[in-house]
Structure formats: C-alpha cells, structure tokens
Amino acid sequence: MTGFLDSLFNGLALGSVYALIALGFVTVFKASGVLSFTHGSLLLLGGYLVAVLHDDLGFAGALALAVLVTAAAAGVLDRLVLQRVGGSDPHAAHVQTIVTIGVDIVLVTDLARRIGGDLLPLGDPWGSAVSDLGPVTVADSRVAAILVSAAAIGGAFALFRFTPWGLALRAAAEDREAAALMGVRLTRVRTAAWCLAGGLAALAAVFLVAFPAPGLERTTGQLALKAFPAAILGGMASPVGALVGSLLIGLTEAFVAGYQTDLHVLGEGFGDVAPYAVMVLVLLVRPAGLFAAKGAVRV
C-alpha cells in the first residue's frame, strides 16, 4: 500500500510540473499555431539563470528574475524572429515551427557550453528535507512543486477566462481572421502567450532539478519533451487537456517505474516508453485528444 501511495504522490508531483510545461506548449499553439520546440532550451535558460544568480540575489530574487528574463526571451523570439517568418503564407506556422527547432539548437548549444559537465545546484530553500504525510515520506520540494504548480496553473486559467487578453486569445484560437476584424491585436496576443509560456518553463525548471534530482545539467532541457505527449493527448489546443494529460503522463511514469519488477513481461525500461504508449492508446480511442477543441470536427 505504501508503494502505491508513494507512486501516486510521486506521479502527481511529476505531473504537476509537466503541466507547467504542457500549458506553455498549448498556450503558444493556441495563440500562434506554432509547436514550440524551443521549450526545452527556454527551460534550461530559466534553470541556468537561477543557478548562477541565486548566490547573489537569494533564491526568491533569482527565481523572479529568471522567470522575467525567460519570459522576455520567449517574447523577443516570437516578436523579432518568428512573426517575421513566413509572412502571409498559409503554412507560416509550420515554417515557424521549424525555426523553433533551429533556435533551440543554438540556445541549447550555448547553454550546454556554459554548463559543461557541471551539476549546478539551484539553492532552493527545501534542500533535501522531507515530511511524513501519513504512511509516506515525501520530499518538501515535491510538496512545493504541487502547490506552486497548482497556483501557477490556476493563475493561468484565470488569465484565460477573466481577462481581455484571455478572451482575445480564445477568440484568436477560434478564428484568427474574425478576431482580427473584431479588433483583436493578434501580434500582441501571441507575444504575450509566448511570454507566459517562457515564464512557466523557467518555473518548471526549478522543480525539475530540485531534490530528488541532483541539480541542473546540460541535458535538463530534454525533460521538457516529456510534456509533449501530455499536450498532445490532452488535445493540443486545450489547457484543461494539457493539465489532465500531464497528470496522466506523470502518474504513468511513476507507476510504471514503481512497479517495474512486476511489469517484466513488457521488458526492462518500459517506463521510458510508457508515456508514449499511453499517448498512442488515448489517440486510438479519441483521435483529437481528450479535450479536443470544438472546431476540430472530423468530416
């Protein structure tokens, strides 16, 4: 039973961090139609900034600055590079997606060069402390991950629902042309979406590399890719779908690793494949994802 609760809590914690990343994917996709492959490097950038700044600014200051800088970097990338690529070509979003792959390679290579073979601690206040929650022992950083993610995701949802920007974003996602005719400034809406995604990625970086993980590495950015299946199985344009998908992926990963020995039939190391297997299974049943946008009707 302890094993089950362990895996459950672990999965929820992982899932809530993945949700921060997946929500970024989805927001960007909704606003610009671009699949952002730069997410991994933005995440690495955020983590790296916290790692190098926390000695001087303290953890909270470093985190705040990292979130702002990463958000700004994502916004600049969108405004100065992506929006100028493709023009009025109906396939502009596809071209921009490819551009994000290039930008990702440039950014990751530079950050990896700076990080080298090091393992950078982020100086978070939780350290390796743990608490007992009933029968299970959980890392404080994990509890913090769940609470902070919940707050950030709640905040993002409130933005979508209750602000003019959120309304504009939803309108743009529904019908770009009609939204523009109604006076929605598409460029601003999408740049703001990119900023939000960047900030969330920086926040996710902190919890991905905090204890029980040992610290920021050059490969940390690759963890962002784990949120891809989450976003896809949720239905690429649905924030709620991203949240549910992330939790599903986090739980799958934790349970498959926790019960690896009982799953011998599926082969060792099935945990790595499991998120993608779940994604394929879900898409077989619901081809448009769990929470498909209403517009996506199959004819």
Binding site: S7, D118, T137, P212, P214, Q222
Partner: protein, 430 residues
Amino acid sequence: MNVTHPRPRAARTPARTAALAAALAAVLLAGTACSSKADGGSTGDAADGVRTGPGVGEKTIRLGALTDLTGPYATLGKSIVQAQQMWADETNAAGGICGRRVEIVVKDHGYDVQKAVTAYADIAPDVVALPQVIGSPVVSALLDDIERDHMLTFPQAWAASLLGRDSVQVLGTTYDIDMIAAVDFLTRTKKLAKGDTIGHVYFEGDYGANALEGSEWAAEQAGMKIAGQKIKATDTDLTAQVAALSKAGAKAILISAGPAQTASLAGVAAARGLKVPIVTSAPGYAPQLLKTPAAAALEAMVHVVSAAPAVSSDLPGVKKMAASYQKAYPGEPVDSGVLSGYNAAQLIGTDLKKACQGGSLARQDVVKAHRSQKDADTGLGTPQDFTYVTAPASRSTYVLKPDAKALGGLAGVEDAHEPAGVDAYLAGRG
C-alpha cells in the same frame, strides 16, 4: 504526346566499356593506396636506425586523443587532456622518448559518434597511438578501424565487450569485475547474506549491461537476488526507482550510471529513511556531487569501487602526480580523470620506450611491445597484465568513499585486492 524511349543498349560501345573498366580500376587502386597508407604501410628507417611508421618522425612522436571537451563528459575530457599534456611536458623535459619529442594531437568529438569517426580519419595517418578515446559508443564504432590500423588505443570506457582486440587495451578492471567486487564488499562488511536482495540501478547500453552481468553472477554465487532498475542518462530523479527497490526489500543498492544518478539515488534513499549501503564504480561519482543537497547522504551511504586508488592516496607516485598537477593547473579539480589520464599516458610511454629498444616504432611493433608487458607498474595503483587480449588487465580494486575534505572528493577505505570469485567468473566466461 511525348514518349521517352529507352536508349538502345547498343549505345554502350566497346570503347565506353573499356573506359568504364579503366575508371573502376583507378578507383580501386586509389582505394588500396589509401588503405595501405592507413595500414601503417609508410614505414621506413630513420637516420638513427629506428624503424618508423605513421606518427613517428626523425624528431617527434605524435599521439592522438579523441576526447569530449564540449559534451556530457567535458569535465572528464578536460582532466585527461591536461594530465596527459603534463605527462608529455615532463617527458620532453627529461629528453623525450627514443630521442624524440612527444606531441599529443587533441580532437574534440563532443560525444558524437559521427564526429568521432571523422576525427579519427583525420588524425589516424599522423599518430602512432591513442592514449585517450572517450566513450563506449565511440570506441565501438571505431573498433574495426583501430584494429586494421594497428593503432594502440586506451579507451576511457571499461565494458568487457571491448576486450579481445589486439590493439585496444581496456586499462584496469571492466565494469562486471567492479560489480563483483562491490557485491564482495557488501557481503564482507555490510552483513549481507544468503536470501537477501540487492538492488541494481543501471544505464541502458554496454556500461549497464556489463555491470549487471557481474552483479547477477556474484549475487547468484552468494545465494542472493538482484532487483534490477534500468534507467536512461536523462533520468536524474530516481524517486520511483528507490520506491520500487524499497518495496522489493533491497538490503543494499548498486548503481552503474552517471554521477547525477548516484546523487539522486543517495539523496532520495536517505530522505525516505532507506538507510542501505550504496556502491558504485568510478564513472558513477564526481567530486562536484559534494556541492549538491545530497552531499551528506553521499558521505554517509556511498562507496566507490575502482581499479585506481583515490587521488588523495598516500602512494608516492600518486602524491607526486597530484602535486605536479596542482602546480601546472592551479585551481583545477584533481579528479579521477586526472589520475586515469596520466596513468594511460605513462603506460603508452613505457610501450614506446620498449618498442624503441626493439628497434621499431612502427604501429604493429608498438602494439607488440605493449602486449609483451606482464607486470606494468606506473606506481599509480596496481600493476597490470597486458599479455591476455581477452582478459581484463587487472582484477584488483580499491574501495573508496566520498569525502569533502579529501583531494578529489574521495578517500581510501580498502586497499587494492582481488575480490573472491573473479577467477571463477572469468574462467566461466571463457
């Protein structure tokens, strides 16, 4: 309507066929010319009567290093490159080898196999041996080329699958021997007994597979069971693995992965009150770990099994090397890479000297000189036996322990010794 008709076959005249044949022959000839060059065919006698080959001139001996200065093993690569350069400088200051200056050509491949293959082709014609090649996948990709070129190579990788090639020398113990030593250490000192379960967290690929072979064999001999957890290099949070091993009732955990994974494993295990001994081998530890939140857990729970002693060891050779390195590269960490790099360079030096005495520095003769050494002792650890191509060069391992106060972050616990059962294991493997 436009229809293209196939060209009548008669268009291929006898003259054209002859031209084609000639071109083909030329290409084939060029091909053989290339391979005979790479083969070490450009041998000759130098003015001093020593037979020379690729990489050996009248005044210089050129060695090559295929290293990782920009990839995941950049820290290791830098340490080895600097240590080997220090050896070259020392050797040249003492008059060189065979009356020649030693030079090391360093190529960075960033742990990219394709780049490494290109880099090898680039430097192969101009070097006599490779005292450093980082990365199991890189070495595996180059095995055939190395063997064809008779290029004496010391890989910085220790999988048993690299044994059995005349020109490739795995220094020290292989991963399986390390894990047999680890199980031996656990049964001797941590009261593990028949019926107990040992967890083994391991990387997919050669490294993990070979390590698991050793641990499973040793556990079976001792009547114990291995609970395996396979992970990838990107898995740096081992919470789920620890939960599973705790559920399996593991009394101890072996880990054959990178330093980041060892830190996570120890940190998580300590945090959830799973106070079991953890044993890893040299690639699973780096002194940088002592700056992570897991430092206390590492010092309390982890041991490192290694064919090389700690850099903080009292061995006179090691002390001297560590002192010179700190002088040559002030402020740089003196980690296990420094020791293994310097050791490899010294061994190549001994081989070259021996080959010189035999009157030839041609590649084949350098390999022959190397393979004739039964008791090679650089004073940096245990002596090694290079005469058996299919057996590890050493069977003895040290047991070390993370220690923030020690140089290189490791302190000695047990001196080098051969773990029980290694002979039987190697005999069984044939």
